[in-house]
Every structure is written in C-alpha cells, then in structure tokens.
Amino acid sequence: MEGRQLRPIYDALELPDTKYAEEECEKLLRKHPNHYGAQSIKAFILARSGRPNEALLLGQSVLNTPSAMASAHVQQGLSLAFRALGRPREEIMVYTAALSFSPNDESLHTKVFKTAARNSMFKEQHHAAIQLSKLSKQQKYVWWLVVSLFLQAKHSKDDVSAPVQLKLAERLVEKAVTDGQLTSTEELRVYLDVLDIQDKHEQMAEVMADNGQLAAMISNDPDLVTQRINLFIKIGAYDKAIMAAIAALESRDNWADYKLYIEAVVTLVGQAADAEAKHSLVAGISSNFEKWAGVRGKARGAKLAQVALATRMHEAGHGDIVGSPEALIWDYLTEFQQKAICYSDIMQFIVARREPSVLEYHQAQLEQRLPAARDSATNSDDAAQAWVNLEKIRYLLQALMGETDPKAWMAGIEPLLKFGLGSSQARKKQPSCSDMAFIASQRIIQAAFLAYSAADQREQLHSALFKALCVLESGIQLNDNSFLLKLYAIRLYLYLSCYERAQTIYDTLRIKHVQLDTLGHLIIGHGMALGCFALDMELCYNGVTFYDRFQSKMPRDIEAVYQQGTYSNVQDFLEFQSNIVHSVQRECTHRYALRGEGYEYGNAKETLARWEEADVSSIEHSEQTLSALHDNRDVSVMGLLTPKDMAQWDLELLTQSTPIPGHDFIRAFSLVPQVMHYLVCADIESLQEKLSELTLVVDNTNDTLSRQDVLFVRGIIDVGSLYIQASDPQNEIDDQLSRLLSVIRTNLPSNELDPSLFSLSSDGIRNLSAAAELFTYMLALKHALSAQRLPAANAVGLALSQLRKEALKSVNTLRGWVDKNTRALVEEQWLAENDDDIFADVKRFVVGSQKQTTSMVTKACTTSWLRSVKNLLSQWEKCSS
C-alpha cells in the first residue's frame, strides 16, 4: 500500500524531475498528513533542491517519531535526506532506530558500518563491526573489526583505551593466522599496521620472516619487500637489513632498497669500533654497487647509489672513507648525460653540498665539457640531450653561486635559441630541442627579473618578458606537446594582462577532474581580474561540479574498499577525501564562482533576491577551518631548474602576475557576500560585525591579495559603511559617496592622456575590471537603499548614472586606442632596436628567424587586450541603474 502510494514520487525522482516529485509528495501529504514515507522523501527532495534548513527540520521531526522507523520507505528516504545534508550522525540514528524493530538485520548493521566508515566516525564503525561479527561468521567482518579498532586507536586521544583496542585487534589477527584465515597481502598489511602502531617491530620482523604462506605473499609484493628491509633498520638489525637489501637488489633495481641499504651501512660505519671495520663495510657495499653497475638495466641505479653513498657518508662525517661525491657525480653525468632524466637524478646531490670550493669544482668540470657538448649536439639525439643536461647544470650552478648579473644569465643564449628553435632537429620535434627552448626562456625570464626588479623598471621588464614569450610560443609552434613551455606561456600572458591567449593555451592542456584542484589555479580567477568573467565563470563551474561530484561519490569508494577487502587503501582514501574536500583551491573556486555571480548584472529585483537568498552561513571561516585546509596546488610541475629554497631564482614565484590566493583571499571573499547579504537584509548589527572583520583582513594582508583585490575589498567596506550611514535619515552620505566614486573614477582610463602600452599590460585592465566590479556592487547598494531610504537611493543612483556615462566614454576611447595603436606600439617599444639592451640577441632572434611567431604573439596580445576591454565596455553598458 505504502509503496503504491509512493510510486509516482519515486518515478519522478528517477526521471529526474524533482519539481514534479515534490508536487506528488505534497499531493500525498494533503490526503495523508502523517504519511511518514512521503515526509521522508520530501525531506530528501528539499535537501537536494538547496533548502537544507527545511529538509533538516522535516527529517528530524520524522526521526523523532520512533514508530515511523519501521517502514523501509522511511528508512530509505530519511537516510538519503541526511546523507544529502551531510549529517552522518542523523543517518546512523535512522538505522539505529530501524534496528530496534529488527535487531538482527545484517544489512542495517552494514549500513551503520559504512556510514561511519565513510565519515571517519571510527567509534561507531567499531561498534557496528562488533555487531556484524557477532551476527555472522563471515571472516570479512573480523577484518572490518580489526581495521575499525586500528583506525579508532590511531585517531583516538585516549591513552587508556587505544592500547586495549590495538591489543584486541592484534589478538583477532593472530587467531585469523592460526585458523589459516589470513589469505591476502591486504590482510597482511593490516596485521603489520596493527603491530607497527604499537612499535612491535620485533614481532613484525618475525611475521615477515615466516617461511610459509606469508613469505610467498611478501615476495610477490614489492612494497612489502622494501618494508621488510626498513623494519630491520627500525629494530637495529642492520646486518639483516643489509642482507635483505642485497637479496632484493639482486633481483630488482629499486631505488628505495638502495637508500635503505646505504642507511644501514652508514649507521654501522658510525658504530664500528675501528677504521678497518669501517673500511670493510664500505668496501662491501661499494663492491656490490660496482657489480650491479655492470648488470644490464641496473647500471643507472647502482651508479647513482654510489653518489648517494658518498654524499651520505660525507653528511655523517665519514667522508674520509669514501671518495669525493663530486667526482662520482661527474662520472655519473659522463655515463648518463644522454638521458633526459639525468639532471633530475643528479640535481639533489649537487644541491646537497653548496660550499664554494665544491661549486668551483663543479664549475671547472662543466667548463671542460660544455664546449665539446655544444659542438657535437647536432650529431645525434643523445649528444643533444647531453648538452641539454650540461646547460641545466650551468643554470643551477649560477643560481647556487648567487649570480645576480643579468648579463651573466644571458651569456651564451644565442646557441641555445638556435638549437632549440632554429635547427633541423627542432623542426623534427626532437624533445631535447624543446628542453633547450625551455632553458633559453628560463634564462631570459631570470635575467629580466634581475635586470628590472625596481618598480620604475617594470616597463622594461614587460618588454623582456614579451621576448621570452616569443621564445616560448616558438617552442610551442614546433612541439605542441611540450607542456612546460605552455605553462610558462600562460604565466607570461597573464603577467602581460593577456587573458584570452592564456586561456586558449590552458585549454590545450586538457586539464580536468582532479587536475582542476591541482592546476586550476593557473587560470581560474584571472579572467575576472582581466574583464573576462564569463569565460572564468565557466571554468569555475567546471571546478564546482568536480568538487560536488567528488563529495557525493567518494564515500562509495571508501565503502568499496571494505567490500573488496583492499584494506590498505582505507587510510589513503580517507586522507585523499579530506585533502580534496578541505582544499584551498576548492574554497577559492567557490569564492570566485560566487564573486562572478555578484559581478553578473541583474535588475533590481534579481540583484536583491540573489543577495538575500545567498547561503552565507556555509561560507563562514574561522582560524580553525582555515588551518584545516590543504594546499594541493601543484607547483612542482613548473619544472624548476633551481631548488625551492632560492626565492630570487624561483621562476614559479617570480612569474605569478598576482599572489596565488590563500587564506586572506578566502577570508575576504567569504566576507564580501556576507556583507552584501546583511546589507540587503538591512541587518545593521551583523553588517557592522562583518565590515569590522573585513577591515581586519584587508589591513593585515601583507601582500597576499592583489592590489586590485585590496582596492575592491576596501570599496566594499565603503559600500557597507555608506549603507549604515544612509540608514539614519539624519546622516549625510555625500562624503562617503564621493570617496567611493573617486575610487572608481581613479581606476577608469584617463580621457585626457593617451594610455601607454605599459599601463595597459600592467594595471590598466585590472584596475578597470576592479572598478567595474565595484560599480556593480554599488548598484546593489542603490537597489537596497531604494526599498529603505529613497532620498539616499536617488542620490546614489544619480551619481552612478553620471559615473556610468563617464566610464562608457573613457572605456570606449580605450577600446578604440587598443584597436588602433597597440600592435604598432608592441613593435616599436617591445621589439625596438637598442644595442645596449642585454636582450638584444633575443630580440634579433625573435624578429629575425621567428618573425612569424613573433607576429602571432603580438597579435595574440593585442586581441587579448581588445577582448578584455570590449568585455568591460559591454559590462558598463549593461550596468544601468
């Protein structure tokens, strides 16, 4: 009967037609007001339609009616509603209430377990696992219990119960071993985790020393082989660690095993009684490395291990026993310089010892080899790659030696450009040529930032960066697959305020799904800053969709781990879930999406409704919520040739056009919508509170917000203050109004003076965009005042109307100027003939042999600027009061 009544609602939900489903719910509830099944499903529908408060109220009222919980329809509807609302405790309460009617229902206990498991509610998970293992003899429930006990103990702050839980878990596993029920490496990993967390390393070693079925499991699992060596080190059985490492390395070439082998030997050397014993230990490991270096497929690992051993011995103060790591580094380079990975392999060992004498040694070695490598680069791919690796080392050594002379960075740039972009190998898309073009671009960018670091030299900086951009684009034209060239091209286009081309290149990288979290920062938000907010909004919505889908699907993946018995994934999946759900980029993407919606023009009614209905409570942030955020943004992908601890030579940092949004950005742009919400709702007290918070944020940013974001946020503070002032008819608003208008006016293009290429490519478009955004919010202020204080609204409206006219005129003039002049100005100013210029070689190269690409870059810049200005003009046209 109940099922038949609910069928039309289920059918509508399956379509999915939520609106119709809600109508059917209402119809049924009109006939049967106490139909708990319909109420439960209605709660779910409300939760899914963005009405969480109503959903929660209705859901809780059904949950408080115990008799209702006997129905499967109520259980289903209500659990779905609470899941959609992100209320796992209430979801578990639904199942618990249902269990009072059928206490032995395995599926209900399983639901409790899974709900707890996917929400890291370890205590509830543990209790559900106990019930399941009591109810059923299935072995999997014993493992669910063991994993739950382990997780609960690991995350517990209770020093008394945690050891008891772990002991119980250990006993359960021991029984499983005795009964022959430990049958997979996944279960073995759980066993080892349980022992490891109790520091029972001796016992772990015994388990791993087993000669029976467990031994076979370990030998088939590469991770466990390495873990076993590590374990011997943990218990101080260095001899055993060495034997296990040797056995492992005889059959495979695994870097983690090499490292552990070295660690065990270095420790024993430190403990050895005399020099003879020390020498003997080093002789043993060196001889093994020598032997493996002669085995096909193992040479690279063994040779690099020799470098690692020497470096580690020097670090531990036993440098006298081994040879110089530096000599071994150059032996390694001689042998493997034809491999692209060679530089990445060896860089950490060069960086590890930065004493001047060591760097001079490297420099001397480099100078001996570099000319020959350069001369023979055209002979073969291998020879070219060898030159590339040496050029990367040249770059690294310059940075490590603290080179700040831009001329030194530009020395020898021409051969790099010719080989990377102008050689027959480059036309054949040889990867080493793209690498060389990349190195050349890095040198130009580095030199540019060193040469023109002062504020009054930024015009020249832009000119130099434009040339670097031409080099990058030439590389991309030759080899479309070189993502490093594209990443820096995106950075430089944005630096020069050219959004459109940056976005086109970003599109070719096909960044999607989880990459939106790690790489989305490259482009998201930049469109709004450069007048292209519609394109930016699309990217933001892609991001928001990714995060929403992730949040709804990830719990199922955690359930699947238990279902499949692949328990080693549990902790990793929980960490991954937490990293994405509490990600800095997620917060930024949401803030940008909301910011874009605020920027979108709507009429008075739409604007007021938008701010009134905005769910501002969910975007509140505290120190605690901010500190829980994870920064997953992947900057390692930028292929830095220098170590991360050298800020002056860190091109990833230097090429950021504006600071990468962080906590201050999140906090500020969570407060802006709150300010607007309370303003529109005429809640003066809350508005004042939020304005104080916003002032505190913007006063203490320490350059973590862009200049335009600061300008905009300060403008919003003025908007809020003006509203408060206007709320009392006794107050005058003229001063505040003129201050706001002046902020906008100052950031409009000047009608009197000709704009310059530099002002356009630096702050011109950005300022204009911030001014347009602030104007949109002022319109919202005017609409809000219209409902409450008409005279003030009229005054604001009149002023805005006048301002809009001025803006339209000046932006229109700017549009005409950009259209008519910028191309010629780029050619005249950024590609000008200047013999003193340290970038003269690059200039000659890009306007000579790369003329076509340079012309394309010029066009890309001018059309990008024009697009931004046209968009802004259209925004001002739409923003009518």
């Binding site: 590469p222 990975i341 989880v514 699947a560 499949q564 990793d572 991954f576």
Partner: protein, 178 residues
C-alpha cells in the same frame, strides 16, 4: 632505476608531470579509485630518486573462461623519463601479476594508431594487432577521433595461443566488452 610501488590515491595530486602529456588521458578520480579498490596489485607507479612520479600502469582482470585476461587500461611515462625502459618494466610487472596472481590467458590493450612509438614498444614486448576497433577514441578538440588497435599477448596458460588469432575485420566498441 626508480622505486616501483603501488599507486596511492594521494598520488593523484602529484601526477601532472605525467598526465599533461597529450597522449595521456586524465579520468574522473573515481575511475582511478575503483582500480585501487578492485585490482591494487595491477596499479603500479614508478617514483624517481627525486621523488617525482615517473610513470604508472593501471590494469584490471576480466572475462570468463578462456577470455579471462589482464587488460592494460593505462600505461604512461613522463616525457623526461622516456628511453629508460620504464614502460617495459611496468608492462612486465602487469603481465607478471596477470599470469602469477590472476592466472590469465592473455593480456590486451588499446592504443591509438597515431601513437607509433607505443605501438613499436608493444610489438617488441610480443603484442600483436588482434583487431581494430572503430572510433574507439572520441575527439576532444585537441586529440582527434581515431579507431583503436586492440593488441594482445598470450600468456603461458593459453597453450595453443588461441587468444591471439587476429580478427580480420574491424569491430565496433560494443564488441569489445567482456
């Protein structure tokens, strides 16, 4: 030389230097997670001494009877880590697991015909062109729509090499489902 280990979910936050390659598809996170849950021993990553991801292989087992086989869903190596034999090492690992852990008859994979470097490597590893699959790869504005080469290699369990008798005519995508 690298550290070969199981792929972990957290690696998804660091695999861009591998996945930005144009031939490497980035799937929905749930796709990777389902492989980790279902076939953890067939999802392996190589990590460099500098702790950067170098490449990974992702596989599954499926089919019934004599069609029980290992499938290579993805095999990719970062551009700077090529010409080191890494892809061969990862493929051998996946073949070993298909043979020794899952007792399969054969291993199969799909590859774009335009990816000639990969095809050559698979041929060197003993894979043959078993059949062509019409419009298996759909264009996305950057990569074109292409048919796929369905390549196979018989494992010792397939004593009579029945699994690798080539199919002459091209098949539709739905004919490749197991």
């Amino acid at each position: 030389m690298s550290t070969i280990r199981r792929f972990r979910a957290m690696d998804l936050l660091h695999f861009n230097n591998v996945n930005l390659d144009r031939y490497t598809e980035t799937y929905d996170s749930q796709f990777y997670l389902s492989y980790m849950s279902n076939w953890p021993d067939l999802f392996t990553v190589a990590e460099s001494p500098a702790q950067k991801l170098m490449g990974y292989s992702m596989g599954k087992v499926e089919g019934t009877g004599e069609l029980w086989h290992g499938h290579v869903t993805a095999l990719t190596v970062a551009p700077e880590c090529r010409r080191l034999g890494l892809a061969r090492g990862l493929m051998r690992g996946l073949e070993d697991a298909s043979e020794k852990i899952h007792d399969c008859y054969f291993v199969d994979l799909f590859v774009r015909p335009s990816n000639t470097v990969a095809i050559q490597m698979y041929e060197h590893l003993g894979y043959i062109l078993y059949r062509r699959v019409i419009d298996y790869y759909q264009g996305d504005g950057v990569m074109p729509t292409e048919y796929a080469h369905d390549m196979r290699k018989a494992l010792p369990r397939d004593k009579h090499k029945k699994s690798i008798v080539p199919v002459k005519h091209a098949v539709n995508v739905e004919d490749t489902f197991f």
